[in-house]
Symmetry: C2
């Protein structure tokens, strides 16, 4: 089996597991750095290896527009193109079509939109997106879904969720059709080993819809894992946590769950406690490029005047390659001077911080003390007001 | 002696040497990457170590304005601040005051100018600049000089050259005064070991002025090395090469010569043949950030459409960490998509290219075949028109 999920230990809903893919294993819970355009912004693949990243993301919408999924296929697939030999997951671009593209027209067939790059007209259907994700060749490919704002009312949320489920059936059929035409070779070094299609549970902040979606999706197919979508898109944090709990109950305990687009430190801890295995978020790199730094004592803004002569590392307890070498004073100087190294070091630290946080949570699950670990971690992270941005 | 220069082999005027400093030895001829603001743009110190850089530059003008030389001193000096344990040379800022700053007023005392950052008024004298360079703590510090355009007529060039020599005497007196007040500890791990003051031979494109300047400077003091300034600033290449030959004759063969601001590949080869030991130039990083790539077959522009699907490395014979991992197609995609990794990889390759070129020239001197090596290298570099930008 090219994909499997083994659970080594649990702590309530939380699990320490191993998700195996054709490009290697992912120890879960895990944070997946986001490489939207075939690069985790400001970082080198070697940086990611050094900080212990196992699985990373690419994005079907962005890579379809630039450089083009057919070009990526021609260059041997996304792994070879970007020199990432570990597992990759591609998001389908559902979120981007609904958040980034212009002049959308949505109907049952798909979504017509204008490229945010050059305004060219494009038409995404579940079938088209499956072809794009197959060309890219990631290990895990997400279904094409209909994404709506976080606080949408129940009728809108039901409409989008039910459409997403109908689109899921079309995604599965298209994956099967493509596979029957040209089966994928089982294992690397083939650049195109088998892919796992993950469905996405939608339903906004409506528990009933979430349960119904999870039920419909489970009954459709034996999926290798599940995405949880449409959270961290403007709703209250408590509503998000409640929805994770609802979905945790409704999904099989035996399979990995991926909470899409979620990845602030406190959300990782809260998500892991509620049974989430995989996370991704652009926050660590985007915030890094804006000068915001995750630390065990809360967020730090490197632009602040206090950092000007501060000889301490970004986070004195961090062992990333920024914190073991450079002072806040130096990194602030780089940032204020618009030096690229500053963006790289801040991105590197923030990504390392989340990878390391997920590893600590995993260890706490294995140790049987997740609850006290999480309480202590959150208490310290939330209490240290002086460092807050 | 904290500074020394040993010559291992010669080939006509060319020399393979070892320049020793308190922070380590530099095998010459060498290219020195430029870290204007305490960072070689887009690169990490670890990148520089990996590609075998030995000595790098900082800039007194830029570091005085941001973050301030007193701050750098407070943080343990430039080596500690930027985590570069090898030798560092600081340029005095003479070039920047005359090229970058606004509203200059020059008189015998010094130069009043406006900061290009915030318009604040500043006054640089030879004494002030020596204090700045002492605060920064580089191994080699350049004198403050009066820099003029490359094609200046003889009276203007004489005026600037003679003023630079008078300023050199003041630089030396100030260095001696500062040293007598607070002697520097001989060796690392002291952050502030002794510094070597290099004079700068000026004289524009006027052989007589160059000879006179070299004579005056030699007679003033037993300098540890010599800068050759005011070249590659708009004059014809042939005039530059002729001036290097004149200065080579006029300077002692026993000491290192540093050709300031020169560093295109062909200029390295031509300079080395004429007895230059040290080079620096922002071209490899600046051009990299503009998409221009040095290759053994001439310059390549990564933006060109031919690179879109090109599976080759930037330079198929290069062993840098960009060329051993990535295709032109991938790097072009990064560059076109404004991804920071693209700027880093292009900068990394270009700097590695010059470091490697200087190493090859050194080996050719040691092998006794510099002339044929240089002829072959230049012929290939200049003949391959298809790759030219």
């Amino acid at each position: 089996m090219p994909f499997s999920f083994e659970i080594a230990a649990t702590a309530g809903p939380a699990r320490a597991g191993v998700f195996s893919t054709p490009h290697g294993a992912v120890e879960t819970p895990a944070f997946m750095p986001v490489g939207t355009l075939a690069t985790v912004k400001a970082l080198d693949p070697d940086d990611l290896v050094a900080m212990g990243a196992s699985m990373i993301l690419g994005n079907a919408y962005h890579l379809h527009l630039r450089p083009g999924d057919e070009l990526v296929r021609e260059m041997g697939g996304l792994h070879r193109f970007m020199r990432w030999d570990g597992p990759i997951l591609t998001d389908s671009g559902g979120f981007q079509v609904f958040s980034l593209a212009q002049l959308r027209t949505i109907n049952e067939e798909g979504v017509e939109f204008q490229s945010h790059i050059d305004g060219s007209r494009r038409f995404f259907t579940p079938e088209v997106v499956m072809q794009i994700e197959r060309n890219l060749g990631a290990d895990v490919i997400m279904q094409f879904d209909h994404v709506i704002p976080g606080q949408s009312d129940e009728p809108s949320a039901r409409d989008a969720s039910e459409r997403s489920i109908r689109w899921l059936a079309r995604c599965l059929a298209e994956v099967n059709r493509l596979e029957s035409q040209e089966p994928r070779v089982p294992l690397p070094p083939s650049p195109f080993p088998p892919q796992a299609l993950f469905p996405i549970v939608q339903g906004g902040i409506h528990a009933r819809l979430r349960r119904e979606a999870a039920e419909s999706i489970r009954s459709m197919h034996d999926w290798p894992g599940f995405g949880i979508g449409g959270l961290s898109v403007g709703e209250e944090k408590d509503a998000m946590y409640e929805m994770i709990e609802v979905v945790d109950e409704a999904l099989p305990k035996t399979h990995p769950r991926y909470l899409m687009g979620v990845g602030f430190p406190e959300d990782l801890v809260e998500g892991i406690r509620r049974g989430v295995d995989l996370f991704d978020c652009v926050a660590p790199t985007r915030m890094g490029r804006n000068g915001a730094v995750f630390t065990r004592d809360g967020r730090l803004n490197i632009k602040r005047a206090e950092c000007r002569t501060d000889p301490r590392p970004l986070d004195p307890e961090c062992d990333c390659s920024a914190c073991t070498r450079f002072t806040r004073a130096y990194i602030r100087h780089l940032f204020v001077s618009d030096e690229i190294l500053g963006l790289r070091l801040l991105s590197l630290h923030n990504v390392h911080f989340l990878l390391s946080l997920a590893r600590s949570a995993r260890q706490a699950i294995l140790n049987g003390d997740l609850d006290s670990w999480a309480r202590d971690w959150l208490s310290r992270y939330r209490s240290a007001a002086p460092l807050t941005v």
